[in-house]
Amino acid sequence: MITLHRLTKDFPGGVRALDTLDLTIGDGEFFTLLGPSGCGKTTLLRTVAGLETPTSGTIHINDTDVTPLPPGRRDVAMVFQDYALFPHMTVSDNIAHPLRIKKVPRAERATKAADVAHRLSLAELLHRRPAQLSGGQQQRVALARAIACHPTAFLFDEPLSNLDARLRLEARTFLKRLQRELAVTTVFVTHDQAEALALADRIAVMSHGRMIQIGTPADVFQRPATTFVAAFIGSTPMNLLPGRHTDGALHVAGATLPAPTGTPEGDLVYGVRPEYMDVLPQTRPDAFPGTVSVLENLGTSTLVTLENDGTLIQAVVPEGDEPAIGTPAWALPRRSLLYKDGHLLQAPPRKPVYTGTALL
């Protein structure tokens, strides 16, 4: 269990990288820190590792206050973005290096390294140097090194970002399975929302040193707490359309929609995911009108962009249902969210609608 209490980190020059963070990460939980670069996620990870010293606040790992402890005494293992495999050591020596530091006898180290390597399908590569390995193999060696020392927690700093797209998917599945098996508390930093959704038990979306939203992938995907999160999560970004609530109706981008009860009057932002839109060939008052301007093939579906007086509206349609470019079309929202001043209005959650499209 990792507990942060009012954790703050100021860099010289007045940049507040972490802003009074409170957080508890449960035993065995796969916790992901997600955010754009510069949001403080890596700083937070490095602070938990002990590589950065917080300006104030505390970090507990399993009820021990580790804030004053040096990195080596916190019983955590970290995998770096560039893997930090030592180029002058063989795979075996790399994996065994943490054990060498812990003064484990040489023979025992080698056995242990071989065990872990075997488990990660690296057995054939034990005597190679990192330079002789593919990116995926290097990544697994870095994992093996982290596993070999049986830490209380894994800290991952974008360990998949240096892999090419296909390999990244494989590595992602592998990592998730491994973490389930080992049941070790894991903190995983990424700027890739799909990775976060796929891997995490819980996600914290960070911006400017604060946690904007903490929740399960489903929470964060379905009910983004702010427009920032809404825009950040989802492989196709959510439509965030400016609108106005007057006379009991919502006026958004040429459509008139019923307002949920309790919606305040005035300017709002209407959010709807492209996946939760149907494209119709004929007009409807509660659908957004527009002209089909771009079609993007997503494989099993197509992303349709409608243009209406400078406003762009995107919808995902199943393969075969694409409208023709240049024709008028109407996008009908099935499920939407309302934001006032950037924050989600706490309307009662609507019943999820089965869409046929995977959430990712």
């Binding site: 040096p70 916190r74 293992a77 560039d82 930090a84 290096h97 530091i101 990192p130």
Partner: protein
């Protein structure tokens, strides 16, 4: 295409000229020692090995090479160890005024190794009881070599990604372990290069050694070389050329060994 061909031709000509330019002065070293009657001109020798026998008869020749080994090796070891420690710390911990300090020391080092500081250095060595000792030579020359060595090694250290050290640190490695397990192996080409550079500087050095050592039994080869004159003051070319060759071999051997084993480079960047 024409531009390309002209370029290649120019490059080839330049390489040939450079080869000739750098080889020419060394030819004498290859011919004279084996010549029965060496002159200053490089010529096809009237082959003999008698000169080598003659130099071995000189009471100080072999001993002086041993002295050079002690002084050069000692200074190289001292410079490498101290410069590596200092360069590492300076590269990794931010100290205000660090760069200014380094540049200042560098400036001082080049001036002080000059002739004007001879008297203070002699006085200093006398008071520290270092005259006529190998240690005296080692300490004095190391002091002069250290700033440049730190300066060059710091560049190597700066180019080493810090994630290696951070990774080791998260696994509990102490700073000395990090230095031993990771940093030293990574910058080994730099350390080896500095060792050769330091050894070569001391090996050819004359002034300090001449001033600090009175006892010819302690004198290094570079000083002994200047004693190989006839009583009339004319250089004994047979002995000088032969001893020059013998005296050059150890440094050349060390260079070959180091460059083969570790690579020889004055600037960092890691071969992964």
């Amino acid at each position: 295409m024409i531009r390309h061909t002209v370029g290649r031709l120019a490059a080839t000509v330049l390489i040939a000229v450079a080869l000739a330019f750098f080889t020419l002065p060394m030819l004498w070293l290859a011919s004279a020692p084996f010549d029965a009657g060496p002159a200053i001109t490089t010529s096809v020798p009237e082959f003999t090995l008698r000169n080598f026998a003659a130099i071995l008869d000189n009471p100080y020749a072999l001993g002086s090479i041993r002295n050079s080994l002690i002084q050069g090796g000692g200074a190289a070891a001292l410079v490498v160890v101290l410069a590596a420690l200092a360069a590492y710390a300076l590269s990794r911990v931010r100290v205000p005024g660090r760069d200014v300090l380094l540049y200042l020391l560098l400036l001082l080092s080049s001036v002080v190794t000059g002739t004007a500081a001879m008297v203070p250095i002699f006085e200093l060595a006398t008071r520290l009881d270092l005259i006529d000792t190998h240690l005296g030579v080692i300490l004095v020359v190391s002091g002069g070599l250290l700033p440049a060595a730190i300066f060059i090694l710091k560049d190597f250290m700066d180019e080493t990604p810090t994630s290696y050290e951070e990774s080791a640190r998260v696994f509990g490695a102490s700073p000395l372990q990090i230095l031993r397990h990771i940093v030293v192996p990574l910058v080994r080409p730099g350390l080896a290069t500095i060792a050769v550079w330091a050894l070569a500087s001391v090996w050819g050095g004359f002034l300090f050694q001449f001033i600090l050592l009175r006892d010819p039994d302690k004198a290094p080869g570079s000083v002994i070389l200047y004693t190989l004159y006839t009583e009339g003051g004319a250089p004994r070319l047979d002995l000088i050329s032969t001893f020059s060759l013998l005296y050059s071999l150890p440094v050349v051997a060390m260079y070959l060994f180091v460059s083969h084993r570790y690579g020889f480079r004055f600037h960092g960047g890691i071969k992964r």
